[in-house]
Symmetry: C2
Subunit: 253 residues, 2 copies
């Protein structure tokens, strides 16, 4: 118990201590808080769900809670911290995976992850510099446990988890930017075709015919619902891991 007895918590990245629920709200002196961190985070989440991450600004959140902007700083030290809490809340509970079928688990996990991103697309806009929070840790934990039967060393299990995480995020991002069927038939019926025409012209003018050709492919033309790139990529990843697991030389290290 030296001079920095409590600096253990002070030195943490923004939101970490709050996210892991290590704040002693006991025996506090002055005026009682009229709200709670949870309430504020919930309000911010609702705003983000409705209008994207930019809508979760401090003034808007404060208005929704019914309080002045600066009052939020009594609950959250910065906007960055708020975002960390909102993001962790948005992850929700980790999926339950089979423990005797690693390939099944490694199929289910990225599907569930991608579903989370599709349900809350603004999660893709959360800066990736966020620290490890309870829900994200739980997701990772579930996958690591389910991959144990592979017998891979811890390091390679983690790397495999990275592959699956990356794939789910990437696909969710592609889908978010892809047009939805409703958007296709609605507002701009031929605008999309015009853009495609423009790009085709420009691409061929620069001898980028391979890209131009691929843009003619149904997968590029199709809307978000008919995209099967996720399954294809996932199958390659799992095949690659499986080949490494079964056929591989005794894992180094």
């Amino acid at each position: 118990m030296g001079i920095d007895d409590h600096s253990e918590l002070d030195a943490l990245p923004p939101g970490l201590a709050s996210a892991w629920d290590v704040v002693d709200t006991s025996t506090r002196r002055g005026r009682k808080p009229a709200h709670s961190v949870d309430e504020i985070v919930a309000a911010a989440t609702a705003l983000a769900d409705r209008d994207g991450i930019a809508a979760a600004s401090l003034p808007k959140v404060a208005a929704r809670v019914g309080v002045t902007t600066n009052a939020l700083y009594r609950y959250v030290s910065s906007k960055e911290e708020l975002i960390v809490l909102v993001a962790d809340r948005a992850w929700g509970a980790a999926p339950t995976l089979p423990l005797d079928d690693w390939r099944g688990a490694a199929t289910l996990w990225p599907h569930r992850l991608r579903d989370r991103f599709l349900a809350r697309p603004w999660l893709l806009d959360v800066p990736t510099t966020v620290p490890l929070t309870p829900h994200t840790a739980a997701w990772l934990d579930a996958l690591i446990v389910a991959l144990a039967p592979t017998g891979l060393p811890a390091r390679q299990v983690l790397y495999s988890a990275y592959l699956l995480d990356s794939h789910a995020r990437y696909d969710a991002n592609l889908r978010r930017n892809a047009p939805t069927p409703s958007a296709l038939s609605a507002a701009h019926p031929d605008r999309r075709r015009r853009v495609r025409g423009f790009l085709d012209t420009q691409l061929r003018a620069r001898s980028l015919d391979a890209v131009a050709d691929v843009m003619q492919d149904p997968s590029f033309v199709a809307d978000a619902t008919t995209n099967d790139g996720f399954e294809f990529g996932l199958a390659r990843i799992l095949d690659g891991i499986e080949a490494h697991v079964s056929g591989g030389s005794p894992p180094a290290r």
Copy 2:
């Protein structure tokens, strides 16, 4: 030549027309522009290189060019357009890939891509909603051409490119957030250890031992230079693609 003779260009996403160089600067009447789009984009790039994407704000760019903020709107229609141009510029020329060795090409390409991201980490912060621009198209074209020998249908070639793109981005992002060796030895010698200790405690308190264990692994403790997750993941992806290419049933469609 109807009422919307030139609306072909007007309806394009921000920056597209400008990025593909389809602006007629000929026979213009009034005062001659004192600067150029290229100069402005270069200034913004320099700022982003120095202090990240947030430093490429319109006031800062304008100050660097030596002009008022609003003067930039004579060259660029919005900040979004500027970012599109800056991003395309940052990609630079696509790599030259071997055309008779698809696996070699599929190894080289993501390495080069990741190098680009490491050289300009702020590229990871560019919103992914940007349209296809000349340099990104050239990168994609190079890879697609090099993957032709696989004999895969166009759609699957594109999906394979997605896998490699995703992997390179993800790894670059991991490395960016990882501590650099200099940062490790410098400023905060034991702060990192403290955060790790905090997380370990919290993780085990919630029975997330698998994650806690993995965090003890050298790959998690190590700095950015000793991370070999990129090679591991790339090998899995390429193995998965190769198995699909050689052993696969005749490609559906």
